[in-house]
């Protein structure tokens, strides 16, 4: 499998691979844990291939969904597979004639995947977010794939206004009806409740793994952590839940050990995952990634959907809860501050510094970054901004910047040995 090849290959000549070298348990457990993670990573590596196989197996519908606030549970309640479309590794070719080069790598990859026939297995494409670049991509896809049902249920991004909650409910209603139409089924409240419960259970297990990483109890690499979340975004919930249950049981047996590696928090990177090679490189500089607020990370798993009461109302509530819980600069909410959340996270997780990963041309992140920077300066938090691109990064050049950050942290005596 391609993933396994990548796992064993030094990333760009660096020593750090997918499996953490400081693993502290027995060989048997390493194998079992690695086996589970590798199987999830294989799905994360080829989500469209997984969806095709799932479709062949179940004869069910596959609904492509777009980040970051789509309630996948509604698709599951329709008996379909919600597939959160990922950035593709392929070079953008035909997509260049659909979207300008000054759009983020994710949106350019989306249109390229559409234009190169990779969305053939999708029965629909749905979204609720209205990032301006995403809208451009989706309109291009509408032209490119005129037979594919594409549906926008635009959630208002201003969270404080009295008009917002009724509009979110109204949009959910439209989404519900459209999914029933595309999936040729009736979505029942019972099915939705079951889908919510399954998602919550999986999120809870992923949060548990994040907690163990934060506490230093486990030493999964950034690449491995990403594979766990990415696979959650694309897999059948029951299947993913089964793998997570086995994994968590194995990880619970791990013991924390002292480490003098620099502890970093990774922040940002909306909509799609940073390239694993970048995470490998950061870790190769003597770093342990202890926490994050990445979309393909904590942001995705942080918030459960209420399980009591009307499930439709719960889905609406979840939209607001998510931004209360892990604020996002794609929303405008007077009472929510990403920088305050980040400062509190760093106090809690004991990170020695922060690396902010911003996808090039991500406008909401570019707009908000100065607010984060102000907080870093006010709190004396060492930090580094790395801009990522679809086409890849000059890793060796970026590495010198990471090393400089780490050297600065070490010289300042900020590092804390953890156990």
């Amino acid at each position: 499998m391609r993933w396994q090849t990548d796992m064993n290959r030094p990333a760009n000549g660096l020593k750090q691979g997918g499996i953490n070298r400081n693993w502290r348990s027995g060989v048997g457990k390493l194998t079992d844990i690695d086996k589970i993670i590798s199987s999830l990573a294989a799905v994360a590596e080829d989500p469209l291939g997984y969806a095709r196989a799932w479709k062949d197996r179940t004869q069910g519908k596959v609904i492509g969904i777009l980040p970051m606030n789509f309630p996948a549970e509604l698709v599951r309640a329709a008996g379909a597979l919600p597939l959160l479309i990922q950035e593709d590794d392929a070079a953008i070719t035909y997509g260049r004639s659909l979207l300008f080069e000054f759009y983020c790598g994710y949106t350019r990859s989306l249109v390229d995947q559409a234009a190169t026939g990779k969305f053939g297995g999708l029965d629909g494409l749905f979204l609720v977010d209205h990032c301006v670049a995403l809208l451009g991509a989706v309109d291009a896809i509408r032209f490119e794939l005129p037979d594919l049902p594409v549906y926008l249920a635009q959630y208002p991004a201003s969270m404080d206004e009295p008009a917002t909650p009724p509009m979110v409910r109204e949009r959910l209603g439209g989404l519900w009806r459209k999914l029933e139409q595309v999936c040729e089924t009736t979505i029942t409240p019972e099915a939705l409740r079951a889908a919510i419960a399954a998602s919550n259970a999986n999120r809870a297990m992923l949060r548990r793994i994040h907690d163990m990483r934060r506490a230093g109890q486990i030493a999964l690499s950034g690449r491995q952590m990403q594979a766990l979340v990415k696979s959650a975004m694309v897999m059948d919930a029951a299947e993913h839940g089964k793998a997570l249950t086995a994994l968590v049981a194995l990880l619970e047996g791990q013991q924390a050990e002292p480490s003098n590696r620099v502890r970093l928090h990774l922040s940002g990177h909306f909509c799609h995952a940073p390239k694993p090679e970048l995470l490998d490189m950061i870790e190769s500089c003597g770093v342990t990634i202890v926490d994050d607020d990445l979309f393909t990370g904590t942001r995705f798993v942080a918030t459960d959907i209420p399980e009591d009461g009307d499930p439709a109302e719960a889905l609406a509530r979840w939209y607001f809860d998510r931004n209360d819980n892990v604020p996002c600069s794609t929303r405008a909410q007077k009472s929510a501050d990403w920088e305050s959340y980040l400062a509190a996270s760093i106090r809690r997780n004991g990170a020695d510094g922060v690396i902010v990963l911003v996808a090039k041309f991500c406008e909401p992140h570019m707009l908000y970054y100065p607010e984060l920077r102000k907080m870093f300066h006010a709190n004396g938090i060492p930090h580094l901004l790395i801009e990522t691109e679809h086409e890849g990064l000059p890793l060796e050049m970026v590495k010198t910047r990471v090393e400089a950050l780490i050297e600065g942290i070490r010289q300042s005596g900020r590092t804390r040995e953890t156990a």
């Binding site: 291009a140 032209f143 594409v150 635009q154 206004e161 707009l367 908000y368 970054y369």
Partner: protein, 452 residues
């Protein structure tokens, strides 16, 4: 291919070297714009409350409540048009804003930071020769912030940053103007269930806006005054559209660039008799040109449509550029499909619903299939030979769907081309690329006409 000749002037001669034959009547607009900004600068001295807003053309709500308003985009465009944007953009760079971010936002936020710097430092003095002095010393701080941004998600976030920069102390109101996605079977331009629902949704928020203004001024909102303000706006809009319609003749008596400099009156200037007077003047001059056969381009051979946001640093430059290859840019998405484009929807006795509907039909607020259909109608109406897409680097709201727009133009037998630039950041403009592409486009249109 034409040869570039460097002259003793700063601007290289291109093509035939002729200049655009601009409308004279638009000079009155320049006077109105200057007076408007002067009134903004005097606001605090006159004890008036100031609203900062971004997005659609909502000033009639402020004007009817005796408020002074600052349109962030207009401020940035004004600085760019006067080539005074560099200081503000430099300050935003210093703060950490990436240059790939919307240059309207960067310029406006940069200005805001300059103003706050002055407050914090306790002195307002700048060096006498500082180019920022003339316009930048006076931007009054907001007493309220209103956001009413159709389509572009960054517009809402921009005002959120403004709110935060002022310490979350300024009352803020956001009007959500949802995209007319056009996914339902009955969807079309100003028709269908979606249109009806969204119209009511926005109208309700506009009514709530009047309550917000009441709460923050302690004064009752005067809806009769709103109707009166809108009577001037509606009349001006009608005159503008009538004058635009007169440009279907060959040669076109006015160009896209004349309409560009006529945007301020229908976008953010006070809704009073001056607006009507302005467009009466424009219409009269156009009527006179129609009578005499005088064109906006001295030797019009080709008629173009301009897609995209204006490059405010280059208004005159571009007007001349197209004239120099005998191409008249007759119409554009920004000018001909927005700004009180459907004035008949406005009932002066109860204008709010019609205002909401005009805000909704901002052209990029439609899903691309409907928007492009409307563009083709405009192109047919004005007998357009080619479409020029301004790929404005930091304005994704206006570059979305441009490849599909170009594709549609070609499908209907029109030439299409792109050129690189930006709304307020001149550094993204690539003159020589535009030159060669424009020359190639003109050659293709010539060849096509010869073949016909």
């Amino acid at each position: 291919m034409e040869t570039l000749v460097q002259t003793d002037q700063a601007r290289p001669v291109f093509g035939n070297g002729l200049k655009a034959n601009k409308l004279k009547a638009t000079k009155f607009g320049g006077k109105l714009v200057s007076e408007y900004w002067e009134s903004v600068f005097r606001a605090k001295e006159e004890g008036k409350k100031v609203v900062w807003y971004n997005g659609t053309y909502i000033p009639p709500f402020f004007h009817s409540h005796d408020l002074v308003w600052v349109h962030g985009e207009a401020w940035s465009a004004m600085l760019a048009a006067r080539h005074k944007e560099i200081g503000a953009q430099g300050r935003s760079d210093q703060r950490g804003y990436d240059r790939e971010l919307c240059s309207y936002a960067r310029t406006h936020i940069g200005q805001m930071l300059i103003e706050l710097d002055k407050v914090k430092s306790g002195h307002h003095a700048m060096a006498a020769d500082d180019p920022r002095v003339e316009t930048m010393l006076k931007l009054p701080a907001p007493d309220m912030i209103v956001n009413a941004y159709p389509y572009c998600s960054s517009g809402q976030q921009w005002d959120d940053i403004t709110y935060r920069t002022f310490g979350k102390k300024i009352p803020m109101f956001t009007i959500q103007i949802p995209l007319l996605w056009g996914g339902r079977p009955d969807a079309g331009y100003m028709q269908g269930e979606e249109w009806e629902e969204r119209s009511r949704y926005v109208a309700e928020q506009l009514f709530a806006l009047t309550k917000f203004l009441e709460e923050n001024t302690g004064r009752k909102y005067d809806y009769d005054r709103l109707g009166e303000t809108m009577s001037f706006v509606k009349k001006a809009a009608e005159l503008r559209l009538e004058a635009m319609d007169m440009c279907t003749v060959h040669p076109s008596p006015a160009s896209f660039f004349d309409w560009i400099v006529s945007i301020a009156p229908v976008n953010f200037l006070p809704g009073d008799q001056n607006l009507v007077t302005y467009f009466e003047g424009v219409k009269a001059e156009i009527a006179e040109r129609v009578k005499t056969g005088e064109g906006a381009v001295p030797k019009e051979r080709h008629r173009l449509f301009f897609d995209g946001m204006m490059n405010w640093n280059k208004v005159g430059w571009l007007a001349d550029k197209f004239a120099q290859v005998d191409a008249c840019v007759v119409a554009g998405r920004y000018t001909h499909m927005s700004f009180w484009q459907e004035p008949q929807l406005i009932d002066l006795k109860d204008p709010i619903l019609g205002m909401a509907q005009n805000y909704l039909i901002c052209p990029n607020n439609h899903g691309a299939p409907i928007m492009i259909g409307e563009i083709e109608k405009v192109c047919d109406k004005f007998d357009i030979d080619g479409v020029v897409c301004h790929a404005s680097r930091t304005c994704r709201g206006m570059t979305n769907a441009q490849f599909q727009i170009a594709g549609s133009a070609k499908k209907y037998g029109r030439q299409a081309m792109f050129f690189e630039g930006d709304v307020a950041d001149e550094s993204f403009y690539k003159d020589e690329l535009l030159n060669v592409r424009l020359e190639a486009m003109v050659e293709a249109m010539d060849a096509k006409k010869r073949a016909a």
